[in-house]
């Protein structure tokens, strides 16, 4: 067997084993189907949800509009988190004034669980888009900020000196040296931030919005549709993983420093 072949199969091993065990437990009746439906039933519900005609059933064909709504919320929240967290993080990693100014506040706010913002956010923004975006942005800010700061702090001082002697001034140095030099940390922060965005998306959508992947799960719970809860979980897992891969690909496409793993 070729090495490359093994490498390609490896990521699928755990999901495959899991589905196998699940199928076995379900078929033999080890797990009652009212707690966890059979994988085939889930597949059927998933199929209807994704490809069914609207009107066929309560969830038929809703996937596109739900996923679209959720993606928009995650996109806006995550973008806001990056827009604030990345520059602030880089600044705080390089300038001790900014670091001292920010660190107490950031670390105090970071200690507050995101869910405690929910009631306040609902009062401020009502139910729906804006509350969710607020929660996502707030949650994703911290990993983006903290990792960017750590990355900027550990940039090899020789690179900055080398840049200075080659006549690179501050602003250009930030983009030509600091950002690439901190790239591996920045990348970690973005990936963690995007991951946590999906978690807080569901939190924001649990509050009675009409559409979105979190809304489907909450709706299904109230209607006792365990199968749709599981479908929702799987859809979020898949979209989360795909968005992480796309983020990495996108960064590698745009930045040499991400491509070359500096």
């Amino acid at each position: 067997m070729h090495r490359a072949g093994v490498g390609r199969v490896l990521p699928a091993v755990i999901p495959a084993l899991f589905i196998l065990a699940w199928t076995g437990a379900s078929t033999t009746g080890l797990i009652p189907t009212y707690l966890l439906p059979h994988p085939l039933e889930i597949a059927g519900s998933g199929y209807t949800y994704v490809l069914g005609q609207p009107g066929e059933g309560p969830y038929a064909g809703r996937f596109l509009s739900d996923a679209g709504a959720s993606l928009l919320r995650v996109g806006c929240g995550f973008a806001a988190a990056v827009a604030a967290g990345l520059p602030l993080g880089i600044l705080s990693g390089r300038l001790s004034v900014v670091h001292r100014l920010m660190s107490t506040t950031v670390n105090a706010l970071r200690a507050v669980p995101g869910i405690t913002w929910l009631p306040l956010a609902m009062v401020w923004f009502g139910i729906g888009m804006r509350t969710t975006v607020f929660l996502v942005a707030l949650a994703a800010f911290f990993p983006v900020y903290l990792n960017a700061a750590a990355g900027a702090r550990q940039v090899n001082p020789l690179w900055l000196q080398a840049g200075a002697m080659m006549g690179v001034r501050r602003l250009r140095g930030t983009f030509a040296i600091l950002l690439p030099g901190a790239m591996s940390h920045v990348m970690t922060g973005l990936r963690l931030g995007l991951g946590i965005s999906w978690a807080y998306l569901v939190l924001g959508e649990l509050t009675g919005v009409p559409n979105g992947l979190g809304a489907v799960i909450m709706d299904a719970r109230m209607l006792g549709r365990i199968d749709m809860i599981v479908v929702g979980i799987i859809v979020i897992a898949v979209i989360g993983r795909v968005s992480d891969l796309l983020l990495q690909l996108g960064m590698k496409f745009c930045f040499k420093s991400a491509r070359r793993g500096a």
């Binding site: 090899n156 020789l158 690179w159 000196q161 080398a162 200075a164 002697m165 080659m166 006549g167 690179v168 250009r172 030509a176 040296i177 690439p180 030099g181 790239m183 040499k256 420093s257 070359r260 500096a262």
Partner: protein, 263 residues
């Protein structure tokens, strides 16, 4: 194949005289509430096109001296003049070759060499041609597309040389640049440096703790003593180049330096 010589690449040959002057330089570092004098009344100058080695044992302040000349660290008092103008900040007229590898790991060899040209008023083609010229000059013609972590320590220092030579600095400041290389690579790099120096006629200040290296390279050696760091002795080396380490004359100079360093 040897690339053609161009006037632009020979800043040293255009004019004679003192290109670099160091005047009564002092540096003290704060230490446990007191002060640690690192450099005391250091005064010397470099003629245009001269190759000066600064030699001394570790802790004599030779690296600090270099950092002040580069503009990375301000002196406590005294001044550094380049062509009569005081040095305040780092700049491409005084380029540094660091001891450690300071290349940008996310850029290829070619991109590293081109780095300092970014933003210069020059066409893309002429920049690219210049990069190729300097790539050949340091003997890395085939390695332009490699990344720094794919090449050896000696090759990295060649890239480091090329990326500053392309900026046509007046003065090259070299901080034990070959100290971490193996003996063969070090000798190769010394020869390369001498060839480049004879071709391009830069003024070079070369910090080292290796006596033989100083005798192979220098027109003039400044011997530094420590506590506090100061220039103890100035030795002019009149041996003809290329200098053979096995000759009696070479060994005499080198023995004298060894003794001077000991006390």
């Amino acid at each position: 194949m040897s690339p053609p010589l161009r006037d632009a690449a020979q800043p040293g040959r255009k004019e004679k005289g003192r290109i670099l002057e160091i005047k009564r330089l002092q540096k003290v570092f704060p230490l446990n509430g007191g002060f640690l004098p690192a450099l005391d009344e250091v005064t010397f100058w470099a003629e245009s096109g001269e190759l000066i080695c600064i030699i001394g044992r570790s802790g004599c302040g030779k690296s600090t001296l270099l950092k002040i000349m580069a503009g990375f660290v301000p002196p406590s008092s005294g001044e550094v003049l380049i062509k009569g103008k005081p040095v305040k900040t780092p700049g491409p007229d005084r380029c540094v070759i660091f001891q450690e590898d300071a290349l940008f790991p996310w850029l290829t060899v070619r991109e590293n060499i081109a780095f300092g040209l970014r933003g210069r008023d020059q066409t893309k083609q002429s920049k690219a041609a210049e990069v190729e010229w300097f790539l050949e000059l340091v003997g890395l013609g085939e390695f332009g597309d490699y990344l720094p972590n794919e090449i050896s320590g000696g090759m990295k220092q060649r890239v480091a040389l090329a990326r500053v030579l392309i900026l046509k600095p007046e003065v090259l400041l070299m901080d034990e640049p070959f100290a971490s290389l193996d003996a063969q690579s070090r000798e190769e790099m010394q020869n390369l440096l001498l060839t480049l120096w004879q071709e391009l006629a830069h003024t070079i200040l070369f910090v080292t703790h290796d006596v033989n290296e100083a005798v192979v390279l220098a027109d003039r050696i400044l011997l530094m003593g420590k506590n506090p760091g100061r220039i103890r002795e100035e030795i002019r080396i009149d041996l003809t180049r290329p200098r053979e380490k096995e000759t009696g004359a070479f060994m005499n100079v080198s023995r004298r330096l060894h003794e001077a360093l000991r006390d």
